[in-house]
């Protein structure tokens, strides 16, 4: 008995040792990957805190002297608040609008039987296939005739042309994966179609709604070409346009540009962190079958 137990214990230790080696290797690989992906961010933050002169004289991995001048310049010398506000309004409105309309469209495409469903899905996808640059001029003429140049709707509506197909496609896929039985059970339990949508389907789709929302938001937040073409002055310029226009004729204010980049990334990163729990929860939620 005892010898058997000892042998078992030995085997267990051996196995544990093997697992430990594996997990060390895994950890090491993770660290390398993390360094690789995080370095540009780190570098941007460091550079944004380094005096302009030092930036070109002897750039070092470790900040020698930390100054907040670039950030101060952003908000005192320049008006960086306005582009941030513009970006928030445009990206936020587009995202909310896309999610509202997209969810309903996706529900119809995933659940209802009607003719031409495949054609509609294909058409929605086709809309995104035009190179953005090719539709800038026609869109400009269209928006001008509608007097929407240099307005929020003038950006939100073009943004929806590429954000909506993304939303509809992603959400259609994820709604299809929610078992139909659940809604049928709700119907039998006494729920109307609307109730089964709001009480069963929607709560289950929240993780994918959040994920899609974040994707759409980031997409709109970073969009440059439309924002540049359809705005006229600083009043309605979004963050990427504002940053691009930092560079003067003779010099590029790298410090300020990087400081602006850090400031522009912050809201997105914060949003992802806030919703992260929900996303992970969604991925691990209980399945239906046992």
């Amino acid at each position: 008995m005892t010898s058997v137990r000892a042998a078992e214990a030995r085997a267990k230790r051996k196995k544990a040792a093997g697992i430990q080696w594996g997990s060390w290797l895994f950890a090491a690989a993770l660290i390398v990957l993390l360094l690789f992906t995080l370095f540009p961010f780190y570098w941007a933050i460091v550079a944004s805190l380094t005096p302009e002169a030092a930036l070109f004289r002897d750039p070092s991995l470790w900040p020698q002297q930390i100054i907040a001048d670039h950030y101060r310049a952003l908000f005192v010398d320049r008006d960086f608040i306005t582009p941030i506000r513009n970006s928030l309004v445009v990206a936020g409105t587009t995202t909310i609008f896309c999610l509202c309309v997209g969810t309903l469209a996706a529900y119809a495409l995933a659940r209802l039987e009607f003719k031409g469903k495949a054609a509609i899905m294909g058409f929605i996808l086709a809309v995104t296939m035009f190179p953005q640059i090719s539709i800038v001029s026609p869109l400009y003429l269209l928006l001008r005739s509608l007097h929407l140049i240099d307005t929020y709707p003038g950006l939100i509506m073009p943004y929806m042309t590429f954000a909506m197909p993304l939303t509809v496609w992603v959400l259609t896929g994820s709604i299809r994966q929610i078992p139909r039985d659940l809604e049928e059970a709700a119907h039998v339990d006494g729920a109307t179609r609307r109730q089964s949508f709001t009480k069963i389907l929607l709560p289950l789709a929240v993780p994918s709604l959040v994920t899609t929302g974040i994707l759409t938001f980031i997409y709109c937040w970073n969009e440059f070409l439309f924002a540049l073409s359809f705005t006229l002055g600083p009043e309605r310029q979004t963050v990427p346009v504002a940053i691009a226009l930092f560079r003067g004729q003779y010099q590029v204010p790298w410090g300020e540009i990087l400081a602006a980049a850090v400031v522009a990334t912050a809201p997105v990163a914060a949003m992802v962190l806030v919703f992260q729990r929900r996303i992970v929860q969604g991925l691990t939620a209980g399945a239906v079958k046992g």
Partner: protein
């Protein structure tokens, strides 16, 4: 009164698949009716038609005295237990159980009370605050059952509710369901492909094949007087043996001889039954004797496989012409594979079916 009845119901899918053809059947008030059939027989579709999850192509559905043919599921006041339970994953067991009541805007106190009563009767009290993901298969099954009971519906519909459970739990739950049916006295329609489940649970059983009702009768009647060859083969395990042959009348005394490929036997028969038939005999009515036996209804055979079952042995044999048959024999004497034996067809167990239509002719 809460009978569930289909009257001349047709269901054809847009792709042309016919799931029900001129189907009329009824689960009487308080009855447990089992719908049984192989996959593709339309039994699940029939249940979904009753629930209102599918619309009939033609015909009438009644629940109680009400014509519900055009009513959506939420207005039919029936409860359904799904094969995969379909518990709402984002709700606790308590919320799952109470969903049907809260959606009908029942007062909170009543919901709370009913949920507690049902949870107690199913042994779910300790699990009320868990989510479905944290439950075992058996527990989920009970929650699904509880969700149906809480609402006190007019009728219960079960769609293969035991098929996701392991063998032992399945038998236990089957007994529990039977007890539940007696206690509630409710009308229940139960779909399964498992004939043993059907035989043990059903007050009556409806056998379906390709959307057509083959027979609806009590379990014993179904077993003893199957209406056709399909029902005879589907009900009972191992399945009935069939032998093709010719029936010839002898004189006028209501006696015929069946002449099969390998054996001959005298059988009682009605007038006018002549010609090609199929003789059916259950494994219990094939007696294994030693090789030397000869006579009426005796055929020689070679043993292929023997399955000892503890209280009996299932013997698979091959007749000289290559036909196969199954017999159930007592444990003693032991029979071994490869052995040469004789099997005797016991006349009291014979069923005769028409060779063309498969319809039952006589016993």
């Amino acid at each position: 009164m809460s009978r569930v009845a289909l009257e001349h119901v047709d269901k054809t899918y847009p792709n042309g698949f016919v799931a029900a053809r001129d189907l009329s059947l009824e689960a009487a008030d308080g009855e447990l009716l089992v719908l049984v059939g192989p996959s593709g027989s339309g039994k699940s579709t029939v249940l979904r038609l009753m629930a209102g999850l599918e619309r009939v192509s033609d015909g009438v559905i009644r629940i109680g005295e009400r014509d519900v043919t055009d009513l959506p599921p939420q207005q039919r006041d029936i409860a359904m237990v799904f094969q995969n339970y379909a518990l709402y994953p984002h709700m606790t067991v308590r919320e799952n159980l109470g969903f049907g009541l809260s959606i009908r805007k029942q007062p909170r106190a009543i919901i709370e009370d009913r949920v507690r009563t049902v949870a107690a009767s199913l042994g779910l009290e300790a699990l009320l605050d868990r989510k479905p993901a944290q439950l075992s298969g058996g527990q989920r099954q009970r929650v699904a059952l509880g969700r149906a009971i809480v609402r006190e519906p007019l009728a219960f519909l079960f769609d293969e509710p035991l098929s996701n459970l392991d063998a032992q739990l399945r038998v236990e739950t089957r007994v529990e369901l039977s007890r539940l049916h007696r206690k509630l006295g409710a009308t229940m329609v139960y779909v399964t492909h498992d004939q043993s489940e059907a035989l043990t649970l059903g007050d009556r059983i409806a056998v379906l094949k390709e959307g057509v009702l083959q027979q609806i009768a009590s379990p014993m009647k179904l077993y003893e007087e199957p209406a056709n060859k399909f029902v005879a083969g589907f009900i009972g395990s191992p399945g009935m043996n069939f032998f093709e042959g010719v029936l010839t009348r002898i004189g006028t005394g209501g006696v015929c001889t069946f002449q099969g490929a390998d054996f001959t036997i005298r059988v009682p028969c009605e007038s006018g039954t002549n010609g090609r038939v199929i003789l059916g005999i259950r494994p219990q009515h094939l007696e294994i004797t030693d090789d030397s036996a000869r006579g009426d209804g005796v055929v020689r055979a070679e043993v292929g496989v023997v399955e000892p079952m503890g209280n009996e042995q299932i013997v698979y044999v091959t007749l000289p012409n290559g036909e196969r048959a199954v017999a159930i024999a007592p444990v003693q004497p032991r029979i071994t594979a490869g052995e040469k034996v004789s099997i005797r067809v016991r006349p009291e167990g014979i069923h005769i079916f028409d060779a063309g239509s498969g319809r039952r002719m006589a016993r």
